[in-house]
């Protein structure tokens, strides 16, 4: 197992290397010109050319790549072409927010979805089940931007409330920070919950008819124990997969929610950088996000084997 982890971590090297090459060339394939985007309509061709030169965009591609990756290897992700801000520190600060948002949203979604999924499974085809399925489907099929907008609207119109403006980090002012985070987290949480609930319901159903469940019942276990200890744990693998995916996606940034709630997260960074063709920022953040994904996936794989002793990695 230990060697497995080491090997997986070593796999990071080719993966990140692949990502770096991929993203580097993608940025060159997609049409668009960072200089023009920055300088707008007023710039002379000379100024544009100069700016491109300043960014090193006139160098041969391999050279550009080597310059960039060389920097990355020494921990220097470069600076944003547009704002001149150092990229890595910016990514890390934003990641803190994104991470917090993800975590809270995930917890909210689990609190909602896993119990509901279980209830739906145990009351299969009853009215309760049906009702819960509708609710979960609403969660899945109502786009979260619509939900977010409705919440903002209702809160401001009927409760004269809107979340505080101006982001503060958790360690600066935890209360204000939570006040800022909580509504977007709820929105994200509910939309995640739908998927987790459905997955929970279906895999619990699958487990509940296994033979060993009967053994546990025969031992005199309360339904609670049967469900929460045994069925849930056994059903956890597909649930975990979906949770891992959701968390992975969220950690990559949630553009729309961040935008609606004016949160300085990773998603905003990447989106702006893409539309502005801020090559360096896009490259840096994609590399970073890829790193996070690989780590999340590793974690999920390790959790698989932690949950299921039959799964072991060599």
């Amino acid at each position: 197992m230990f060697t497995y982890i080491v090997r997986r971590l070593l796999m990071l090297i080719p993966v990140l290397f692949g990502v770096s090459i991929f993203i580097f060339f993608v940025m060159r394939v997609v049409p668009g010109d960072v200089a023009q985007t920055i300088l707008g309509t007023d710039a002379t061709p000379a100024a544009l050319a100069q700016l491109r030169e300043n960014f090193g965009l006139n160098l041969p591609l391999y050279q550009q790549y080597l310059n960039w990756i060389g920097g990355v290897l020494t921990g220097d992700f470069g600076e944003s072409m547009r704002t001149g801000k150092a990229i890595l520190p910016d990514i890390l600060t934003r990641f803190k927010l994104t991470f917090e948002l993800t975590l809270i949203a995930a917890v909210i979604s689990w609190i909602i979805s896993i119990p509901l999924g279980i209830i739906a499974a145990t009351k299969r085809n009853s009215k309760t089940d049906f009702g819960l399925r509708i609710v979960s489907l609403l969660g899945v099929s109502v786009p979260n931007f619509a939900l977010a907008t409705v919440i903002i609207l209702v809160l401001s119109l009927y409760f004269s409330y809107s979340p505080p403006v101006g982001y503060v980090g958790f360690f600066e002012n935890p209360i204000k920070n939570l006040e800022i985070i909580i509504i977007p987290a709820i929105v994200l949480g509910t939309s995640m919950a739908g998927a987790v609930m459905r997955m929970t319901r279906s895999s619990i159903l699958e487990i509940l008819r296994q033979d060993f469940i009967r053994t546990i019942r025969a031992k005199g276990a309360k339904e609670k124990v049967v469900i929460f200890q045994h069925a849930l744990k056994n059903a956890m693998i597909p649930i975990l997969t979906i949770i891992g995916l959701q968390i992975g996606t969220l950690l990559g940034g949630t553009v729309i929610i961040e935008q609606i709630f004016s949160l300085p997260g990773l998603g905003q960074l990447v989106l702006t950088a893409i539309t502005q063709r801020d090559f360096m920022v896009v490259q840096g953040s994609v590399l970073f996000i890829a790193f996070i994904f690989v780590m999340i996936n590793l974690l999920v794989d390790l959790l698989y084997s932690y949950l299921d002793p039959r799964i072991s990695y060599k």
């Binding site: 197992m1 230990f2 033979d211 084997s305 932690y306 072991s312």
Partner: protein, 348 residues
């Protein structure tokens, strides 16, 4: 005789890494099969008996490379099975079949019996798709499954019925060698009789060879030509069936035979109830694996592992009691007269 064996197992071992903790570091190995050798000759039935957990199933699985062996050789008609590549071996599987111990988990819950039985036929292209149906119905009838049951799924059957499906699934291929892992243990006597008859008929008809893994010594006695007795991953005794039942040498075999339940409620017999349990195969005892439970154990058993040797013609045993090497110590040991075992004569 050696060279015309259909299956020759040489020094087969299978160790399972044993893991502990969250990091699951391999800290030890379960010696499920620990260097056993035997041969099976065409058209014979060779039985493996032994305590639960002694490695019978693992032996069977390793022979078929359902688990890769740790070391050793498995020669099928003179060629080492381990030399085949995966594709070739898949073809060969038609001739090497196995019936699994557990009929509950070994059938795909989402296939109907018909699909389950058709699958091997079509996989090995025995007959055309059209003719497959007939073949399936034939075999189903032979194992006692009715036609309408073919459309059912495994969970709708009782344990015995499922076992019959498993048997049909293996036999439909007309294999040369069949490994039957507790194939009839789950069956009631009447069906068991029916299946055993079927197995014997098929053996005759198709010249099958069986490796019969069982702990039902009555059945073993009935079907086998030769029997090997395993204990803790090792072969303890091996000989012809009659010889074994009439003249068991190894104390373990003796206790096994004494434990056969009789079907006559009026005649309760004395038996050797062994103390203790099969030792942990991850930490086998020193010397003889059986010594901790052996009524006849002595000092030497703890120090030295008994050699597996032919003490009589075609009668192999691994016990210091029958050591024929010129170790003078051994001579002093004879059958313990206080032992509850009856009818054990030791001839030298």
């Amino acid at each position: 005789m050696e060279n015309n064996a259909i299956l020759e197992v040489k020094d087969l071992t299978k160790y399972f890494p044993q893991k502990s903790g969250f990091i699951k570091k391999t800290n030890n190995y379960v010696r499920a099969v620990d260097g056993i050798s035997f041969s099976i000759y065409p058209k014979e039935t060779f039985s493996l008996v032994g305590e639960s957990g002694c490695g019978k199933s693992t032996t069977g699985r390793t022979i078929l490379r359902l688990q890769e062996p740790t070391s050793g050789q498995v020669l099928f008609k003179g060629t080492d099975l381990l030399d085949y590549n995966k594709r070739e071996f898949r073809k060969l599987r038609k001739d090497l079949q196995m019936i699994f111990q557990d009929p509950y988990s070994s059938l795909n819950p989402r296939m109907t019996v018909r699909e389950l039985l058709k699958e091997p036929v079509l996989t090995h292209r025995l007959v055309s798709k059209k003719d497959a149906e007939k073949l399936v119905q034939d075999i189903a009838e032979k194992v006692g499954l009715s036609k309408e049951q073919l459309n059912r799924h495994p969970h709708e059957f009782s344990g015995g019925q499922r076992q019959r499906i498993s048997i049909a699934r293996a036999l439909v291929l007309n294999p040369e060698l069949v490994i039957l892992d507790e194939a009839v243990s789950a069956l009631d006597v009447s069906i068991q009789a029916q299946i055993l008859n079927l197995l014997m008929d098929l053996q005759e008809e198709l010249e099958l060879t069986y490796l019969f893994i069982s702990h039902d010594l009555n059945v073993v006695k009935h079907v086998s030509d030769r029997v090997g007795v395993m204990y803790l991953g090792q072969m303890m005794e091996m000989t012809h069936t009659d010889e074994l039942y009439d003249n068991p040498l190894h104390p373990y075999t003796q206790s096994l035979l004494s434990a056969i339940p009789s079907t006559n409620p009026f005649q309760k017999k004395e038996r050797i109830i062994l103390k203790g349990d099969v030792p942990d195969p991850a930490n086998p005892p020193s010397g003889c694996p059986f010594r901790l439970r052996c009524p006849k154990a002595h000092e030497r058993c703890a120090i030295e592992k008994p050699a597996y040797q032919e003490v009589k013609s075609n009668h192999f045993v691994a016990c210091h009691l029958y050591d024929q090497s010129e170790n003078p110590k051994q001579a002093r040991i004879s059958v313990d007269p206080t032992s509850a075992a009856h009818t054990t004569k030791v001839d030298g």
